[in-house]
């Protein structure tokens, strides 16, 4: 088995304009694209459709080729050994989760709204998503009113996730990932949230990519900290 530190380069960079489907059938692709567009809708700003979230998910579920980009983003690492096995299992599980989840979306759509999910209008699709998520459509944050939440881990993997939760997490990833993963096309996701992300991953290695000017560079510790101010004037 190769050390993770010695994994070579497998797949080359994605073609962000590619229409090729590596995992989804045409119908699955259209369904996931429609569902993602309800999860992150388009309004005056781009949403999941423009960010190409479905392309991001398709490449992720295609197998082992697009799991980890190389550090500089020029290609993808070739997984090896036990990690190739664990990722094979992980992806196979998630492929099934998606296949079954898409079928369930259509089943619910047919039962409750009389057509395939992708054929329904926005409100009808939202209704189906409420059914599959077992919860009402979330309401906008009203400033001042949010309930506390239980503690959680730092990493956010999709291990063991149900379809709808996975789809929501993958939609976030497809919106805001580095574009080498196929989503956040032309950085529309980053622009939506005013995040000055790194166009080039290589620039994050050299640290040419820098957010230094966003710090409070002119701040003065004595101005910020009364205790320090008092101490300094007592010394004088």
């Amino acid at each position: 088995m190769l050390s993770k530190s010695d994994w070579g380069v497998g797949a080359g960079p994605m073609d962000p304009d590619s229409e090729e489907k590596l995992f989804f059938t045409d119908h699955e692709w259209e369904t996931v694209e429609a569902a993602a567009a309800r999860i992150m809708p388009s309004d005056e700003d781009p949403g999941a459709r423009e960010a190409r979230v479905v392309f991001f998910i398709d490449r992720y579920l295609s197998g082992l080729d697009y799991i980890y980009a190389t550090a500089d983003g020029s290609g993808f690492l070739k997984l090896d050994g036990k990690y190739a096995e664990s990722w094979s299992q992980r992806i196979a599980d998630m492929q099934e989760t998606y296949r079954e989840g898409i079928k369930e979306l259509d089943t619910l759509a047919q039962e409750h709204q009389g057509d395939l999910f992708k054929e329904l209008d926005d409100e009808q699709q939202d209704y189906v998503l409420e059914l599959i998520s077992h919860a009402p459509k979330p309401e906008s944050i009203v400033l001042g009113e949010v309930d506390p939440v239980g503690s959680f881990l730092q990493a956010f993997t999709d291990d063991g996730m149900q379809f709808f939760d996975a789809l929501c997490l993958h939609t976030r990833q497809g919106m805001y990932c580095h574009p080498v993963y196929g989503g956040n096309r032309e950085m529309v996701g980053w622009r939506l949230v005013d995040y000055p992300g790194p166009e080039s991953l290589a620039d994050t290695i050299t640290c040419k990519y820098s957010l230094k000017e966003l710090f409070a560079l002119d701040a003065d510790w004595e101005e910020l900290i009364p205790h320090l101010r008092e101490k300094k004037s007592a010394e004088e």
Binding site: S5, S151, L211, F215, P226
Partner: protein, 548 residues
Amino acid sequence: MSDHAKKPEPVDVVIVGTGGGGGTAAKVLSEAGLKVVGLDRGPWIKPEQYSGDEVKYINRNYVWPDNILESRSFRPDADSDALEMPFSPLPFCVGGGTTHYAGWLPRPMPSDFRMRSLHGDIDGACLADWPISYDDLEPYLTKVEWAFGVNGLAEANRNEPPRSKPYPCPPPPPTQFAVQFYEACAKLGINAFPVASANVTTPHNGRELTNYTGYWNQFGDPSNSRCTTLTTFIPEALATGNYELRPDCYVQEVTVGPDGLAKGVVYEDLDGNHIEQEAKVVILAAGAIESARLMLLSKSNMFPEGIANSSGLVGKFATFHEYLFAIGLFDREVHDPAHGYTGYYISGGTMDFYETDEDRGHIAGCLITASMTGPPVNWVFPGRPLWGQAAKDADRDFFDYSWKIGIILHDMPQETNTVDLDPDIVDGWGLPVARITHTPHQNDVDMADWQIEKNIEILEAAGAATTVGTQLTRSTGNTCHQHGVARMGDDRSRSVLDKWCRAHDVPNLYVLDGSSFPTAMGVNPTLTIMANSWRCCDFIASEHAKGV
């Protein structure tokens, strides 16, 4: 490809782990002239192999343990079933936790070493004094700060414990959100100050601060800005010519000789060979959970319950820190952007709530800090709307107008909070995974409730339009801080290690991570782990020089 399918020559010291404890031991002992082998189960990923790729690091666990291969199990108590869960994970790679930690490096307080003397028996908890004092450790806290290049502004902390030198580097400039925190604290009469953290800011030992990317907590550092053993103590050890580093070597057993001493360790390499490295001294520094697991896996006729476990206490009194926090969302019509994606995770904190004030309704306390909400895929917003227009609006309106105040929740030790071997679940190598049993003590819960309310008060003083707190509904070990499983003490019947972190039962076996901590403290453990490791390694080197 292994160069060691044939048995390697015995050495003076073998160290399991290359993180805070193991990296420090490697440097100190090889600089003292001992022949040392360092083993890490993880790969030696070099700095230039790290970059600012959020999905890779936070969603796909490139460095965090793989949940299928490298899992653990967790149950709240012995009556519940243990479910597979990545409890208190640490990255498996050279540098260990110091590779991608947020990098808070606060000092402990003198009171931390005397919890039993100060508080007596607390119902349900098993407090114990440390067999050393703050003063015993202070010279080593200073050594680590200077060798590691820690930044801080000691005179700004009105609660600063005694120190023999200032910090080697000043703090970096505050972030925009930190300025809001400082102003709110000043209004409330709270002493906010730049909490010591793990990056150089001025040139130090050939390193400079070049990483301003914001890809910090959970990301490796491609520069040498970060204080990590990967770019400091491990290379320094290698430079002596006395240290050999073998990554990708998964230690599975500590072997015992007929004389009852540790003989060495057995590890599995990438090709599946099982190899024994003999040594005169064996040091475990794999992180408390893995060190306890390794001791329990090391069964022999002499130690049927695991090496050095005649007391039955290995794995008991396990303590963990839960990271809880309150987030503030700010109205962009009124406030400037907070830029919660910039900085070195923390920017400003206070120790005003650390020492016991029984009017609060609990004993002890914790460090709190203002901190980043992070990059956009996973920016921390508990209770975010999951989908729809509400989800999009939440990101668009608040991603750049949010920050949080978090706590390192001080965990009271209980004998029933333990690390042991899961009877059913094995890892990708066929070995029983660590099973963690943990229910927080009522003092933990009371402290969390009190402190989160206080954090909300500070956020409101800063002008937050909405605040969301997190609650201690379950333990996750999400700080990765882990301690207590091999307590140090003078009483052999109530401890596993002596005051040099040497096993009472096995005088050439040392455990130099957080395992030895009799109490958990309410500050991050890394600086204390490293200082303690240095202290004990000075002892090991001097004992070795005497031929012991």
